[in-house]
Symmetry: C2
Subunit: 171 residues, 2 copies
């Protein structure tokens, strides 16, 4: 259980309220700049959980998760922010679904919501796997070249050991 991570200082008494972070703490925590976070909001990749009295952005745990997700897609997978937007539509919908899920008592509906969420995850995974597949193709192509070179090396070694200092006649 890891939900009290990050915020420790100014908000002890009101216990049940989820800790809302301001943009700098979020930036430091997630590893993005404040500008980047605002930019992502501008692009519609997220909308912060709330605004303070003075219209400060306030982020909750889901926001952090979403930002990490975006960063992962951007850095690790090399997706464009537009592509990420596609994947996030699924992610956003998933979050909304989760809320509906909590407020629903009908097992049939709950089951349908879960079914939907699984579908969205599967699409994300499919997209990632596709990328992995292309990378693996490149790896195996490179390894093919490697094998070729190893063969060459073996040939040379075979001719090298018996007569190291003689000129090699063509095979």
């Amino acid at each position: 259980m890891w939900y009290s991570r990050g915020v420790s200082h100014l908000d002890a008494p009101t216990a049940t309220v989820a800790p809302l972070l301001r943009i700098q703490e979020v930036a430091a925590d997630v590893g993005l700049t404040t500008r980047t976070i605002r930019y992502y909001e501008e692009l519609g990749l997220l909308n912060p959980a709330a605004r303070s009295e003075g219209s400060y952005r306030l982020f909750d745990v889901d926001d952090l998760e979403r930002l990490r997700f975006i960063k992962g897609l951007r850095d690790d997978a090399g997706f464009s922010l537009t592509e990420i937007g596609q994947l996030l539509e699924d992610e956003v919908a998933r979050t909304r679904i989760r809320e509906r899920f909590r407020s629903s008592a009908d097992p049939v509906e709950r089951r349908a919501l879960i079914e939907d969420a699984i579908g969205r995850i599967d699409r994300q995974v499919g997209s990632l796997r596709q990328k992995i597949g292309r990378l693996e193709a490149m790896v195996s192509e490179a390894e093919g070249r490697r094998v070729h070179l190893e063969t060459h090396r073996a040939e040379i070694d075979a001719g090298l050991e018996p007569a190291p200092h003689t000129h090699e006649p063509r095979p």
Copy 2:
């Protein structure tokens, strides 16, 4: 008269001379625009095999291979052109090595060149595998969520018992 990369006299006895392509054919073949190809040259990602009398760029088979390699890295792997430049330095060296290799008769030197080439390939593969690893981490994280949802679904399917599940631990 055009200057060109060395066509090795050791290559093939009665060689059908490799056809040198002009930029448009290359572009159509590889799937890039002429502008992009010139831009890559400008960045130092390749230098065409030769120039014609009227200074037309002329590309050989190695150039095409390189361009496909670049495109693969860019599209499939999402590397930046700068990162690709790093990987290509190895690739460039490999090509140069191959030329020296052809014009060398000394088995010891040939062996060393092959050894070197293998090392370069291994670094490329390492870089790709690193990326694959990060993508796979994302996949398995997503699949973890999937499993969680499946568990929920199974609980629902196992009867309409409203056990008060207060909060989802790991969305």
